[in-house]
Symmetry: C2
Subunit: 267 residues, 2 copies
């Protein structure tokens, strides 16, 4: 039995393409429909109510594309909107927080885990809650890193300015004694080399994009929703505003094959 409907993925903008990349590597036969809300990006400094309202709209658009599962490729949305999304759509919804938290708890040795993300994600306490739900003895050091998204979107992936911002943000939580760091924003895998340099070899990185893709594969297997193994995977990208510079940055850094980008105007 196979299911040829697309995996629906949405994000506040372009950053969620790191999840698409991870999905393509793990699920090469799947069709992916990606929707990025570039007309209202970024969500990271916006209120929970506003983020929830936007994400319900985007999920509705993916349902109209016949998505068989909805992947929330955005930590900010995952941290505040998953319960409302699950209540409002009839297909499974997978976010990035739970899978990242599970991977971090499996990796840590000293039970001290760092989490970095946008202001909204960190303020929500979503990672802290998810980590503690898995292991009450885990200690969590969180740090909002609001400048990293703009630096990434400018393509400054290997740049002195970015290295300085990373050093400033990570210094305190490294001193706290973490042995594992969760990249709690789907933009951040693009900075994995720079963040790795700042951390040194003793601290392990947990990439929430990759762990989310693994969770999607497990779900498709459990519910017999995989595409036929003979199917040729494909990617369709739709944005709510014309793409800016960052689409080129992401495409190049992730080596993604993106065809024509559709424009979907929000009502």
């Amino acid at each position: 039995m196979s299911d040829s409907r697309p995996i629906g993925v949405f994000d506040s903008g372009i950053g969620g393409l790191t999840v698409v990349k991870a999905l393509q590597e793990i699920l090469p036969n799947e069709e992916i429909f990606y929707l990025g809300d570039t007309a209202r990006v970024p969500y990271g400094n916006k209120s929970a109510e506003t983020v929830e309202r936007y994400s319900l709209e985007l999920a509705g658009m993916l349902i109209r594309e016949k998505a068989k599962v909805i992947v929330v490729a955005c930590n900010t949305v995952s941290s505040v909107s998953i319960p409302k999304l699950r209540a409002s759509v009839s297909v499974p919804v997978i976010g990035v927080i739970e899978p990242g938290a599970q991977a971090a708890v499996a990796i840590t040795r000293n039970r001290h885990i760092g989490v970095i993300g946008t202001r909204a994600t960190i303020r929500s306490g979503a990672y802290e809650n998810a980590l503690r739900a898995l292991n009450v003895h885990v200690q969590v050091s969180s740090q909002p890193c609001p400048l990293l998204v703009p630096l990434i979107e400018e393509g400054l992936l290997n740049d002195k300015l970015t290295d300085q911002a990373i050093a400033r943000y990570l210094g305190p939580i490294i001193s706290n004694g973490i042995d594992t760091l969760v990249l709690g924003c789907t933009h951040y895998p693009l900075l994995a080399p720079a963040i790795g340099r700042a951390l040194g070899s003793d601290i392990k990185l947990v990439d929430s994009a990759r762990n989310c893709a693994v969770a999607v594969r497990n779900l498709l297997d459990r519910q017999s929703l995989r595409a036929a193994s003979s199917a040729k995977g494909k990617l369709q990208v739709a944005l709510t505003d014309s793409a800016d510079n960052f689409l080129n940055v992401a495409r190049d850094a992730l080596n993604l094959d993106i065809g024509d980008v559709e424009l979907r105007t929000l009502s």
Copy 2:
């Protein structure tokens, strides 16, 4: 004759409060209604069509507040939406570009003017067109500075990171030989000290917020729209999403007296 209706001011977010500050200094008797679209901020990397659509919505909201004039306290909006706004509302509309261009042409000695702003403002060529319309012999060196808004919104007004970003952006246009620099983004007056340090004393700064306020005063005088000189000016602030950290940064840096902030949900 006097007119007690408010001056309506709108911006993509909080940055336009620099224009409010300048208006208060020049027009202390006026009531000001400020509307910031924090639910969709920033506009600087969005398309002209989307920025135009958003700005028509915001202007409509100000008209319902009985604004006697609409001040577009945002360079990105001013650079793309002024003609459509003027065609669609019945009160005068003043942007920040024309007044800034007039001041720059009056100040320059060597007729070589620099302009910094968001990607959308610079891409629009609006300053270049306005400057050339005033003096065909003017040479313009433009530079988009996309990282300055996030740095300002983080409150890093006097910070090594910000100084480095400024040096990187301004280096090339200083070398080009400008003698005047237009701050073509209403956020940038908050960086006037840092930008001044980078420029040295030979290059003059043109603050588009201040010049916009002067243009508003001249318009009110011409059309007999000033409030009574006995009136006590007041400021009302409404935002389309709950205020984040940057409202505090702006309030402190500008020494503004902001009471309760209203929330206006977009339809």
